[in-house]
C-alpha cells in the first residue's frame, strides 16, 4: 500500500465523528490510556495544580489545561504535581520507565530542555543501546512548542531538530486533533522514549475525533492535499498554513501535495520521495531555525535520493536564524506565513 492510499483509508475512518479540540483530543488519549493501564502516570509542574495551597485542587490541569480533570479521576498518586525541577522530573520518569511504569512527563515549555537535557539524551535515549538491549524506557515527554503567543525568546522555540538528532528518541509533532489522539496513544504504548511536541497555537483547533481509542503508527506521513505539480512538506502548526496555500492554488488549477510527516523521528522518507518523484518540486515549511534543521535534513534526503527527479532548486521556508522576538509585529515576521509559503511555491513553479 502506498503512503497516499494509507492516508486516504484513515480519512474515511474519521467521518462523522464528534468534533474536538487538539487539547481535548490529547486529554482524552491520556484519560483512556490511564483507565486501561494502571502503570501509566503523569508527572510535571502544575499538571494538576493547587498542591499545598488553601485554594482549589486541579487549579490548572497544566498551564494550557491539557491534563485538566485527570487528577480528580486518578488521584495525586498518578497525576503527580512536582516542584519546579525539570532534571528531577525527567530523570524520575526515565528511572520509573525502567522499572515498570509508563510515565508521561510534562515539560511546560520545550525551551526548558536546557535544564534537563542530560536526562533526555545521555540517560533515557541511550539505555536500550548502551545496556545491550536489556533496558526498556517507555516514557513520553510532552512539551509545548512554537511561537505565535508573544511568549518571548525562552518560551517559544521550535527545538525539534535538537531531539531529532538524538538516536534512541522518537519525535512526534501532531498538527491536528485527530492525529494528536492517535499519536499520543501510540506514544504511551511505545517502549522507547518519545518526545511529543504540542504547538501552543493548535490547542483550540478542531476536527473530527472518534470517541474510541485508536492509534496512528509512527513513521507514516499523511497527505493533507494531493496533487502532482508541487510537493509541500510542512510540520506542526505550519501544516494548516500549507493547506491554506494549497487550497488557494487549487482554485487556479495548481495541484499541490501537502505532506505532514507527523513524526520526524522516524521520518517517512518514502512518502516525501514518492511525491517529489512525481512533482520534481519541493518546498519545506518549518518554524525552526534554518541551520541543521528538519528542513535542511529533508532537503538533503531529496537531493541524495531523488536528484534526477528535481526540476527546480529546493526551497526552505523557515524562521530566520534568530531567537524568537517578543513584539507581535516581529513575531509574525519570524514565523513562516502563508504569503511566504505561497511566494516560494510560485517561484518554484516558474523555475
Amino acid at each position: 500500500m502506498t503512503s497516499k492510499a494509507k492516508a486516504s483509508t484513515e480519512t474515511t475512518s474519521t467521518q462523522s465523528a464528534p468534533v474536538k479540540t487538539y487539547r481535548e483530543a490529547i486529554n482524552e488519549a491520556l484519560r483512556q490510556e490511564m483507565r486501561a493501564d494502571p502503570t501509566v502516570i503523569i508527572m510535571g509542574e502544575e499538571v494538576s495544580g493547587g498542591a499545598g495551597t488553601p485554594g482549589q485542587d486541579d487549579a490548572y490541569g497544566g498551564v494550557f489545561g491539557v491534563t485538566k480533570g485527570l487528577m480528580p479521576e486518578f488521584g495525586r498518586e498518578r497525576v503527580i504535581d512536582t516542584p519546579i525541577t525539570e532534571s528531577a522530573i525527567i530523570g524520575a520518569a526515565a528511572g520509573a520507565a525502567n522499572t515498570g511504569l509508563r510515565p508521561v512527563a510534562e515539560l511546560m515549555f520545550f525551551d526548558f530542555i536546557g535544564v534537563c537535557f542530560d536526562q533526555i539524551f545521555n540517560q533515557a535515549a541511550k539505555f536500550r543501546y548502551m545496556f545491550g538491549g536489556k533496558a526498556r524506557t517507555p516514557m513520553v515527554i510532552r512539551a509545548t512548542v512554537g511561537a505565535g503567543m508573544s511568549a518571548g525568546a525562552q518560551h517559544s522555540n521550535m527545538l525539534h531538530p535538537v531531539v531529532a538528532h538524538i538516536p534512541g528518541l522518537k519525535v512526534v509533532m501532531p498538527s491536528n486533533a485527530y492525529d494528536a489522539k492517535g499519536l499520543m496513544l501510540s506514544a504511551i504504548r511505545d517502549d522507547d522514549p518519545v518526545i511529543f511536541l504540542e504547538h501552543k497555537t493548535l490547542y483550540d483547533t478542531k476536527c473530527e475525533v472518534p470517541d474510541e481509542p485508536y492509534t496512528i503508527p509512527f513513521g507514516e506521513a499523511s497527505f493533507n492535499r494531493e496533487g502532482s505539480d508541487i510537493t509541500i512538506v510542512a510540520l506542526s502548526a505550519m501544516v494548516p498554513r500549507a493547506n491554506a496555500v494549497a487550497d488557494k492554488l487549487a482554485r487556479e488549477g495548481i495541484a499541490a501535495d501537502v505532506i505532514d510527516p507527523r513524526t520526524i523521528s522516524p521520518l517517512d522518507e518514502e512518502a516525501i520521495l514518492e511525491s517529489v518523484e512525481m512533482s520534481g518540486r519541493l518546498v519545506i515549511v518549518d518554524e525552526a531555525n534554518p541551520r541543521c534543521s528538519l528542513a535542511a535534513d529533508i532537503a538533503s534526503i531529496a537531493v541524495e535520493k531523488a536528484f534526477s527527479a528535481l526540476r527546480a532548486p529546493i526551497r526552505k521556508v523557515t524562521a530566520p536564524h534568530t531567537p524568537v522576538p517578543f513584539s507581535p509585529v516581529l513575531e509574525q515576521l519570524y514565523m513562516p506565513s502563508e504569503e511566504r509559503i505561497e511566494q516560494a511555491v510560485r517561484e518554484l513553479l516558474e523555475a
Binding site: S87, P103, Q119, N122, Q123, K134, A135
Partner: protein, 322 residues
Amino acid sequence: MQYEKDFLVQAYRTMKTIRLFEERSIVEFERGNIPGFVHVSDGQEAVAVGMCMHLTDSDVIGSTHRGHGHSIAKGCDVIGMMKEIMGRATGLCRGKGGSMHIADFHKGMLGANAIVGGAPPLCNGAALSAKTLGKKDIAVSFTGDGGSSQGTVLEALNLAVVLKLPHIFMFENNQYGEGTGVSYALGAKDIASRAGAFGMPAEKVDGTDFFAVYETVAGAVKRARDGGGPTSIEADTVRFNGHFIGDPQLYRAKDEVKKLRKERDCLTKFRERVTGEGWLKTSELKTIDQEVADLIDRAVEEALAAPQPDPSELTTDVYVSY
C-alpha cells in the same frame, strides 16, 4: 549485632571479589586488554557491600562511573562483567556499554553512569515505581563526594522528600572528586548536613568499617520499606587508586596511599574483627581468597577468549538507523 557465619562468608567473599576484580582490571588495562577509561574502586568495598547486603534482586541501585564494586555487590555476574569491560559480545551489555555502563536489570542493577550525579534522579524514578505499584522494594543511588555538588543530585534530594520516596542516597566520600579535594569543592561542612537540610534524615558512617556501614544503613532500609521516605548516608571512605587507571596522582601527599592501605583497608579491618571475635578462622578466609582468585583468573581467561561483537550489532538495540 549477631552475625550468621554464612552472612560473614558472603560479605567477605564479595568484598574480596571486588578487590581482586579491580586489581586485575589494572593489570589487564595495562596489558592493553581493556579499552577506554576505567575507574577502579578498591578501598571502597565495605560501602558497596555493607549497603547491598540489605537488598534483594527486586531492589534497585544506580551507580557511578566507578561502578564495578556496586555491580558485584548487587550480584552481577563477574565473568559477564569482565567480558563487558573488554568489550566482548557475550558481556553483560553485549560489549556496548563498557566499564562505565555495566547494567543488569535482572539483578536490580540499573546501570553504572558516566555522568557525575547521574543515579539520584533515576533512582527516584525506580523508587516511584515501587511506591506506585505498591511494592516494598527500595532504590539506592550511589554518588561520590564530587557528584554531591551536581544540580541533578540536589534536585533529586528535594523531590525524594516531596514525594516521600523509598530512596537511600549513599554518598561515598573518598576525599577526591577526580583530582580535587573535598575540603576545597564542598561548600558545606559535610555532605550529610547539606543532604539533611533538604528535610530527610542524614547520617555519617566510617565507610571502611563493613559492620558500621551495615548497621547504620539498616535503619534507612527499614524506614524506606515502611513508607518513611528517603535517607542520606555519607560514608567516609578511601580511594586506593587514582581517578582513572593511569592517573599519576600528583595531587596526593607522599606516602598517603601507603598509610591508607595500612590504617584504613576495609578488608584488613574485616579480617581482624571476624578472627578477633572468633566468628571466622584465618584458614577459612584464606580458602575464600583462593576461590576468589581462581574466579578472577577464570573471568579473565574466558573474557579474553570471548568473541568480539558481530558488525551487525552496531545498529541493533536502537529503534532505527538512518
